[in-house]
Amino acid sequence: MGIKIALAGNPNCGKTTLFNSLTGSSQHVGNWPGVTVEKKEGWLKGRKDVVIQDLPGIYSLSPYTLEEVVARDYLVKEKPDAILNVVDGTNIERNLYLTTQLIELGIPVVVAVNMMDLVQKNGDVIDVIKLGSTLGCEVVEMSALKGEGGMEAAQKAVTLAQTHRAGELPHIFTSRVEHAIARIEESIQGKVDDSYLRWYAIKIFERDEKALEALNVSAGLKAHMEERIADCEKELDDDAESIITNQRYSYISNVVSKSVKKKSGEHRRSVSDKIDQIVTNRILAMPIFAAVMVLIYSIAMGTSITDGGFAIGTFATDWANDIFFGEWVPNWADSILNVLSVAEGSWLYGLIVDGIIGGVGAVLGFVPQLLVLFLLLAILEDCGYMARIAFIMDRIFRRFGLSGKSFIPMLVATGCGVPGIMASRTIEQDRDRKMTIMTTCFIPCSAKMPIIGLFAGAVFGGSPWVAASAFFIGITAVVISGIILKKSKAFAGEPSPFVMELPAYHMPSANNVLRAAWERGWSFIKRAGTVILLSTIVLWFLQGYGFVGGRLQAVEDNGSSLLAAIGNAIAWVFYPLGWTGDMAWKATVASFTGLIAKENVVGTLGTLYHFLGEPGENGEKIWALAGADFGPLSSYSFMIFNLLCAPCFAAMGAIKREMNHAKWTAAAIGYMCLFAYMSAMIVYQLGGLFAGAVRFNLWTVVALTALVAVFYLLLRKGYQDEKRFRRMSSVDTKIK
């Protein structure tokens, strides 16, 4: 049997750096089952029998956040052999708060006090021996960034794991509380492993529902314990949870005052504070933020360096799309297939070159750009600026139920929705993250630009207002959805406080940044190899094959393909959007091919109209034909639908990856389609009615109802009005 060591600590304590240096290249990155929390594990270098399990960064073992629940469940159910607890030495009081809870689990704990170099530089002294003897566990010094002490700490944890020796549990609470806890311990004895007894007893004292559930206690016993808790609360005139937290912190203050010597006064200005004086300054914060965003955008997604811009990302992706997947790979495939004597024009050739390479290549072509972008985001995150972005943008975004950090996914989504969705990973709050994922794709990405361009040119005389309105629609969709979703039952449940640490700035570590960028890039590539591959093959088949004379065969003309048949069959669905007459099935088919990549919408329309008009060299003729066939109102409704509906497969893959939950993925995509459908219908029916182009009909009523419903959803009181809930509870406490 191998040894399992759990790596635990607060966010920003240097845990990731330590994990990287302990495990090197043996890491496995995934998600905890069913949740959006990242899971990482790896072997200790040189010890294939020792698995290091990285737990999410947490401040406490309370049952309220997803990360905390994940960490708790692991610690209690998987029973690691030892815990390596990383503690930020420059912020020792709050970090030890988690430590006291970890020790209670009865698992051997090694506390590694990180950032010792900074502690010494500040002129502070931490007496680790004294700290260890008070806490009842091993305490070692470490500087993860400099690579000092990490391996030693891990070795200590391995030794402890082998001897199964947990320290003496310190008595943290006052005798009154300790007494109550001891009585609860007696009551639940035998129901849990003895080493977990104290942990469960304290949790029950805190009225932790999850812990109670796990124990499956009888109603009588529960009432008995409740009596003890209530007695204690009455005596100490506070609620149990507060009693525990308060006493924990007083215990820590006491421990720290004995073993840590601080050099100067409490509120001295550190380098980090000085940086913040400028970076989050009242006047300068916004311009600096704008400048950083412009910089990131122009490096990753702006004008390519070959066209006089700064964008390395765009350049690399252009190269990957046009040269690598455009010429090299098809040529290689061609020569390999020739050697295997697969003839050009055969179905296998078509499948491989047009279907797989064309489809997956279009998706993989984004990888270079993604890597550049993720690299920049990882730098922002690692150096501490990302938290400041949330700090300065929070006011705006939380009105729509999003986080200040949602700005970055939205900005990135103007280039491509896929990295936009993946950038949402920097948002801590699960609710905010899910809502960001659901709304990010409303922002028109670069692949939707041709759709806008086509209709702006062919129907609206090249008016710049069409593109402007597309962005306006996108942003409005985000705002409306944010408010609607915020008030829905699924999101309104627990009010999530925005209490966020602003970590001290530090130089980003190259190793961490490169790893983080690669992990995100790699998870994208894996998606491309599975979901996206499958979807593109299916669509390729539907697009290229059809029944001609009752026989299934490859078709030259898209119009007689299976896809066209399906398009024809379901075109009626889009009738209320004004997709009527001959354009209906073409618009439907074009929307479907847009699922491979949004660029395809225009490409498909080109092909479909190409067969009708003169196949001249001048493409404008085709667009003029399409424009005339669509008409202005239907064009606009088509455009709205395609801008807002389900994104391309790559983006859907990213949604699935980030949601890590089939139901949430379906909900997100379903919501987008519904929202797109409704918006397009409202614009076509009601806009048409006002303009006199559409007569009053049944769908006018439906559209009106939908519009009223949207207003209702926007203006209604939320499922659970947070503020009122809180006010009332604070009033309650006062009455007590």
Partner: protein, 73 residues
């Protein structure tokens, strides 16, 4: 009753009592804001909310809505 929300930047206060309940209150306590703790109000964000405070030697950002639950003296 004075709450943390009303405290001007640059002032130091002590926590008198925490109002509210459930996850919000627990989270605030978990971050080290407990009865008697000293809080230094560093600044208010450029758009007027949230605020930045120093507590137990580190920087914390907290929304005014949540700060309202913290009674101070």
């Amino acid at each position: 009753m004075i709450t943390l929300k009303d405290v001007k930047a640059g002032q130091i206060v002590a926590v008198a009592k925490l109002h509210g309940e459930g996850s919000v209150k627990r989270r605030i306590m978990d971050m080290g804001i407990t009865t008697g703790t000293e809080i230094f109000v560093r600044k208010v964000a450029p758009l007027g909310d949230p605020m930045e405070v120093n507590v137990r030697g580190y920087e914390l950002s907290i929304r005014k809505d949540d700060a309202e639950m913290i009674e101070v003296v």
